[in-house]
């Protein structure tokens, strides 16, 4: 009866999840408001940020390194670090709080043709030439 579970214990459980979960990377901070650090927001390190960056977590330092030489979009930072976008946004908000990075609103989208106008034209064409 006591021998029953014996054959199994040798099969050691392998832990494959990443060692450092995301909530530790972000320090448990919450996501910044939706309109801050959007995908296309541009971020850059401040000029004199290098010295203070030394005490940061490896992930935050990696973000600092990426944005050290110029502006990079939030989505790109996420792509390069391999971290989920939300995690990067939290890191960036934290770095901005510590006055290490600068965020710039995305350049407003280039003049896109007015959708309504296009619809109106389409409708006009349809009525004129049939479907």
């Amino acid at each position: 009866m006591s021998d029953e579970p014996e054959p199994e214990p040798e099969a050691e459980l392998e832990l494959t999840a990443p060692l450092v979960p995301f909530f530790v990377v972000t320090g448990g901070r919450s996501l910044p408001p939706a309109h801050e650090y959007e995908r296309t927001t541009l971020v850059s390190a401040k000029r004199d940020a290098a010295a203070e960056a030394r005490t940061l977590s490896p992930e935050a330092r990696e973000v600092m390194r990426l944005v050290a030489d110029g502006f990079l979009s939030v989505a790109e930072v996420a792509g390069h670090t391999g971290l989920p976008l939300g995690v990067v946004r939290i890191l960036l908000a934290e770095l901005a709080d510590e006055d290490l990075v600068l965020a710039r609103k995305p350049i407003p989208p280039a003049e896109r043709p007015d959708k309504e106008l296009l619809h109106a034209v389409l409708d006009g064409l349809k009525t004129r030439f049939g479907a």
Partner: protein, 401 residues
Amino acid sequence: MNQDVLVWCLVAVAVIAVAAVAVLSIRSRAVEAKKQHNEAVLTARLGEAEGRLRDVSAELHRRQAEQQVTIRAAEEAAEDSTKAVLKGAARFLQSLAAEQMVLLEEVQRKYGGHPVLADLMEVNHANAQMARRAHGIAVMCGAPLGRRTKAASVYDVVRNAQGQIRNFRRVQIMQQTGFALKASAVSPVAHAVAELLDNAASFSQQDAPIEVTFQRVQKNLCIVIDDAGVGMNDEDRQNATALLSGTVQPRLSELGTQPKFGFPVVGRIAAQYGFRVDVTGVSRYGGVRAVVLLPEELWTEEEITAPATQAQAQAPRMSAVRDTDDTYELPRGRDRTVSGLPKRGARQRRDTAAPVREAGAPPARPAAVERNSGRSLGALQRGTLSGRNLDSTPSEGPEDS
């Protein structure tokens, strides 16, 4: 004649007296003899009774001893069977929790840009705590901890431990080190540190910090955990030391209804994997200083970059393209991301075009001096462009060069 009568009377009285004395003495002698006889009989009986009593009490002791042995055997059998049952259950929970950790990681990546990420991270935190409990129970029942197959920096191991306790925000890791733990030590050390952090958190005030520092002392690497709690008295210290050294291994039934797994589990793990844990020190805040002492067999000095392991999971195909050709030729490490992608900084994209790299010359260096003006503007523009390309799919390594 009167005198004669008197004399005769006196004689008679004397005779009577003598006779009475004689009779009395005979009587008393008889009584004495009887008494002695009775006493002898009583003493004999008493001796007999005492002997019987002695036999009975000896029998009693023997029975008691027998009973103790039986009870102990029964307890051990009960302990063993409880352990077997609990072990099976704990192992089940262990593997479920591990599975869930992987699943949650995937879901968090999938919904990385969605507000639900915040909740997913909460769930992940709860799951990490549950996993620690499951591992703890498993270890108490003699099952192994889950193992990891990759070496990791001590810093990350402590961060992993941090994630396993409720108030993880209170934990401050004060420094980063170039020390890495060997793969086999990652999981046990993380678990031990997690238990110590949990202990530190539960015996100090809600907002008090818990500081983690690293020290190298001769051939040992120390993970030092300082709390600002109430400290321990001498008895607590002795108990803790006994538990942590693994010399005292309490039974499951001795752990109480709100079982204190912490120190017994740490003691077992430490003994099993060959490190030491000490909690007798006093922290700089007057609380407890816990030290995990890792002998040199368990760690190395090589540095393991944390984000690399994570980035690889996400972007294997990006690094595959890059790593094959020119990763190692690049003289400036900062031009690359950890996954081998060229980093997008100012002007780098054009300056580090393929021909330059083949020559192995430091790319973008000479140009860097002249281009200060207009640098940010160009970067801004390119950043925007590339950012938009990247918008939906984060993989853009191959398109570049």
